[in-house]
Amino acid sequence: MAIKTIPASRGPAKTSGRDRAERKLAFRMTAPSLVIMALVAAVPIGYAIWLSLNQYSVRTAGLSRFVGLENYINALASQEWWAAFGQTFLFAGLSVSLELVLGTAMALLLNLAFKGRAVLRTVVLLPYAIITVVSAITWQTMFQPNMGLVTNVLSALGLPGGDVVWLGEHGYAMAVIVMADVWKTTPFAALIILAGLQVISAETYEAAELDGASKWQTFVNITLPLLRPAIVLAAIFRTMDALRVFDLPFVLTRGANGTESMSMLAYTQLRENRLVGEGSALSILTFLTVMVVSVIYVRFAGGNIRDVAKEEQ
């Protein structure tokens, strides 16, 4: 996927007046959008980076002092950051892998020809349409000890878990947060994978059938490889989202029991403690983490994403 660079020609290239005029026009036409892009994207990020290099004191009513990378060094030396870092990756790893497996299964199901498929496709998307905070509150209520739906059903059936304080212990709390995320976003993964499925031509399957391939062989040797780009695309979207997770742990546990995410840590410093420099540094670190992970994804699976784009044309 290396891009070959075109060797620069010696001396200024000879261009006709028309070429130059066209280039000028192109520049003039794109300039406004470039400016807007810069304002929309670069300015806030640049500003956040600048803030992160300063220390703001509550005492000085918002005045700052330039401290260079101190905020970053402090963050990277702190237990809190690495705990949040580890927990966020644990959460992302668990929820994204579950979402991909279940999403693929769901997509295969929705791809079957049956009556009411269109309705089901819409219905399946419902959890994704619910605002995360609202669904988080619902999950919290379900797992409430003593009166929550889950604990009541488990106790009524005499199953273990009826007396577990789900959101009060590390393993269980993390499990509930992962489940809530999987419940909410599997439909989204399924939708992307379904799009990938529909690109695979029927002839491929007919050929496989003629060759006498079993259902499982067809799935492993044809469907899955051809579906890979779509799955990778879903994985990128979901991983980026999962690494930025905030609302689920915030509502469900307030970060207790080792469920504090990187974004929550930044929020606490920024909004609750009004430590703008420290909070900005944490936000930038979160942003960098997400960026590095997505660059790794694109680097190792980028070609596949381009394939999807090509096939869909």
Binding site: V58, L63, F66, P145, A256, E278
Partner: protein, 435 residues
Amino acid sequence: MDLNRPALPLQNKATKRKALAATAIAAALLLSACGGGAAPQGAEQAAAADPASGANASGAVNICGVKDASGIYKGTAEAFTKANGKVTAKYTEIGATTDEARTQIVQRLEGKSTECDLFVTDVIWTSEFASQGWLLDQTKLVEANKDRLIPSTVETTKYQDKYWGSPFFTNAGLIYYQKDKVAKPESWQQLYAEAAKAPGNGYVYQGKQYEGLTVNFLEMLYSAGGEVLNEQGDVTIDSKETRDVLTFMSDGLKNGSADRAVLTYNEDPARLAYESGDFGYQRNWPHVYRLLNATPLASSFAVAPLPAWEGGKASGVLGGWNLAISAHSTNQAGAVAFIDFATSPDWQKHVAMDYSQAPVNEAAYSDPAVLQKMPFATELLASVKGAKPRPISPVYPQISQAIYKNVYAVLSGTASTEEAVQKMAEEITTAKASF
């Protein structure tokens, strides 16, 4: 290492001032970009409210604060407008939750907005806001009204020997108990022992990792004679009392006095669990009284002030809301007139009767009309009068985090009492150093 550690060793005041001056221009430039534009403004520079100005006030007063769930703010504004005639008051909701309202208020104050003349402030915000020079000094006004206000409620508006707000309504924890199952709580030890006696006697409180846990812990710590900061503001939480209370609370979870589920409870889940009838005691705020009365438990529950630590004196933690005048208010006289009305003995009776909130006027608690609507007024007054404010510091949010995170770690069994006490003291010291 801790996140809250200040980035540079603390300098003395003089060098700090110099450093400030040096960065002032750059910072002013920078901050104007986000509408901040704050100049260094010490609390000592803030203007004072003139108590006499209320009498000839006119114009409009805008009061800003959290969503008005009980209707008390809008109701008071309307009643004031009607009674005053010259000044009109309006209540503007600027946040759905306490946290959101704080953020909105901070944004307006940092931006020197003149939109709001008065802010309804949580008792724990006083020092932070006052230290930023955001509020009008209300010392004279409070002094003028002091004889009609409960002293403990006035204390919540104090920062560096001045008063920065007037109390509007107060709040203190109460114990709700099933009088057919358990005895009236006299001491925490007795309450816990009683709660462990039978499965249906248990105690529920707010044990989730949040501000409420800080309050629940401090109530016990204060009654045990412990404290977070002493009079001089030094960190004194590393004490025998803190260890005793932490051990007591975590033992209570182990021996079944308190249900383990409290680790996930804030106010409402605790109330709902209690309403199931499976518990003997509940610690909650006064508003629960009205709600409990609408349940099958209506005839079997009773209210008591928070108990004492064995051999000690009961002492709770104050909640409640104050009225603070913005330093950028364009109608300070109107704001003073509104405060005069809202804290008047007559209106304070309505605070109890119409909105089930705890008045800041002591006489209101023995008024027959109030007692009829609020039969637990005597218990409530005892709780309010005995209650102390939470640690007074501009970095209170960080202090509270240090408390609830470490208390939670002990309760959930991830840290020992000793570890937690040391970490708590360390983090509070660091937080104080960051100011």
